[in-house]
């Protein structure tokens, strides 16, 4: 190799290095561009909270209270949820739904989801003297503090936010349905058009703006109460203090954050 050849190849190598560097910069910019500063801060979520000025996820721990004695089973919450979250209109996709419990004298409990249409034939034993009690139970994602759905997700698409809401990353979800199997409360489903897992997010977009979730907003009897468990003055904290509280399936140690008052022992 003479001096001339060496200089020539050195020049080529420098150019190639510049090209690779530019490629890297371009890739980086494509990913974080338009999200001002998201990529720079190592604690992305924290940086976001401060940038917003009002909603800092690290300061909240959200939950919901449900007072069974107040629920009149009008399904306003279910309808409002479908509107707010663009839930598919078919009567078997729900982020939140209502169950009617009819408990007969012989101890048999009949449970039906009153929002699933075409099931009215099972709406039985309402008026005969056989029934000892009957009531409605609103259900939704329990936003577990120890969520089984997050544990099983093979691609890390579902995760708990710092304020205790379990979210799904639509870009990462591969629609395998493990989380649907893992959820002990049946709160998840696959969106029919996009085949990604969907569930109640406590109306995260509303809560971040300081609004109530849509179901809480429209409930005519205030059977649903939403609040921040970190704030001692929140309605939810008062609700948990003033009522005897039950959660669904406590034996599974999922630590649900949907708290039921006056929950019947038959409810599962």
């Amino acid at each position: 190799m003479n001096k001339r050849e060496f200089l020539k190849s050195l020049l080529l190598l420098l150019h190639a290095g510049g090209f690779v560097g530019a490629l890297a910069r371009w890739a980086g910019a494509k990913e974080t561009g338009g999200k001002e500063g998201e990529g720079k801060a190592p604690g992305g979520a924290d940086a976001k909270g401060e940038a917003n000025g009002k909603h800092d996820p690290a300061r909240h721990w959200y939950g919901m209270g449900i007072e069974i004695d107040k629920c009149i089973g009008c399904s306003r919450c279910v309808d409002a949820c479908k509107v707010e979250n663009a839930v598919p209109p078919e009567p078997f996709f729900f982020n939140t739904w209502l169950e009617r419990y009819v408990i007969a004298k012989d101890g048999e409990a009949v449970v039906e989801s009153i929002n699933v249409k075409g099931k009215s034939s099972r709406e039985m034993r309402q008026d005969d003297g056989e029934v000892i009690r009957s009531f409605f139970v609103p259900k939704l994602c329990n936003q577990c503090a120890n969520p089984p759905c997050v544990q099983v997700c093979p691609v890390g698409a579902t995760f708990s936010t710092k304020d205790g809401v379990v979210l799904v990353d639509a870009n990462r979800c591969i629609g395998c349905g493990y989380c649907i199997q893992a959820c002990p409360y049946g709160a998840r489903y696959l969106r029919p058009e996009s085949r990604i897992a969907q569930k109640c997010f406590f109306c995260y977009h509303r809560v971040a703006q300081g609004l109530l979730p849509a179901c809480v907003e429209v409930c005519p009897t205030q059977a649903r109460i939403f609040g921040d468990l970190r704030s001692k003055a929140s309605r939810l904290v008062r609700f948990t203090r003033m009522n005897k509280i039950h959660v669904l399936k406590p034996s599974l140690n999922t630590e649900p954050k949907v708290y039921y008052a006056q929950l019947d022992g038959e409810v599962r």
Binding site: P42, A80, L167, E217, P220
Partner: protein, 244 residues
């Protein structure tokens, strides 16, 4: 010892591969593909950016003070505007756009107020087929301040049972004096002057005969319907739905 030429070249190739892999891993692959924090933050951001459809009733109160002030004093004080009127965030942003819907027919109120054995005791419930089944609910009840309607004031003092029966019938909106002529004396000494009662089939016919002007009343052909019987031998005028 001199390293053979081929080993040096092989080393160079391996070195390039190692540098290439490391460079790709740490520089070329965007951090969001590797870092959980970043992709979670971007999910949160996407979630927060979703549009809000329900504006919240404090937003409604900004413009509709009068109505909301009235609602807050009545039995419906715990109801949010959008519970009945539907999502109205679009209307809140631009009042000219997306006027919220106002439920006026009989289907809407029974969503909450029809009788259901599973509803909590004490919640006001009606049987929508028997409860004055002709008119929309808002004819008698103001949804912004719902109270049991009081249509017949003077007579109900002494005839409350008839008043209660009629109030939930399809004759709820008729005044007592539509069918009964009440002499003034009846209010002072009731037994000395009794109110009149309708006398013939033709009286009911003023509303219910074919060709009568009353629009909502069901029509019958007086010449063929019921034969020689008087209307009230089969239909109780204070509760026309109850047969027999």
């Amino acid at each position: 010892m001199k390293i053979p030429e081929q080993v040096r070249r092989l080393g160079l190739v391996i070195g390039i591969i190692v540098v290439g892999v490391l460079g790709t891993r740490f520089f070329l692959i965007p951090r969001s593909l590797i870092s959980d924090e970043l992709h979670q933050a971007s999910t949160v951001q996407r979630e927060v950016a979703k549009p809000v459809k329900f504006a919240g009733s404090s937003t409604c109160e900004g413009c509709h003070e009068e109505v909301s002030g009235r609602v807050r004093k009545g039995y419906h004080k715990n109801l949010m505007c959008e519970g009945c009127h539907g999502a109205a965030a679009r209307h809140a942003e631009d009042p000219g756009q997306g006027k919220p819907f106002a439920p006026r027919d009989r289907k809407f109120c029974p969503v909450c107020h029809s009788y259901d054995a599973s509803r909590p005791t004490g919640f006001p419930q009606i049987n929508p087929t028997a409860h004055n089944p002709v008119k929309p609910c808002i004819t008698c009840h103001n949804p912004h301040d719902p109270v049991p309607p009081k249509t017949i004031e003077a007579c109900s003092a002494c005839h409350p049972q008839i008043q209660r029966t009629t109030a939930v019938s399809s004759h709820a909106l008729l005044k007592c004096t539509t069918c009964h002529v009440v002499p003034a004396q009846h209010k002072k000494t009731p037994r000395s002057a009794l109110p009149s009662k309708p006398e013939g089939r033709e009286f009911c016919g003023t509303c219910h005969a074919k060709g009568a002007t009353e629009r909502d009343a069901p029509k019958v052909d007086l010449s063929t319907h019921g034969g020689r019987f008087l209307c009230w031998q089969c239909h109780y005028p204070h509760l026309p739905e109850g047969r027999g």
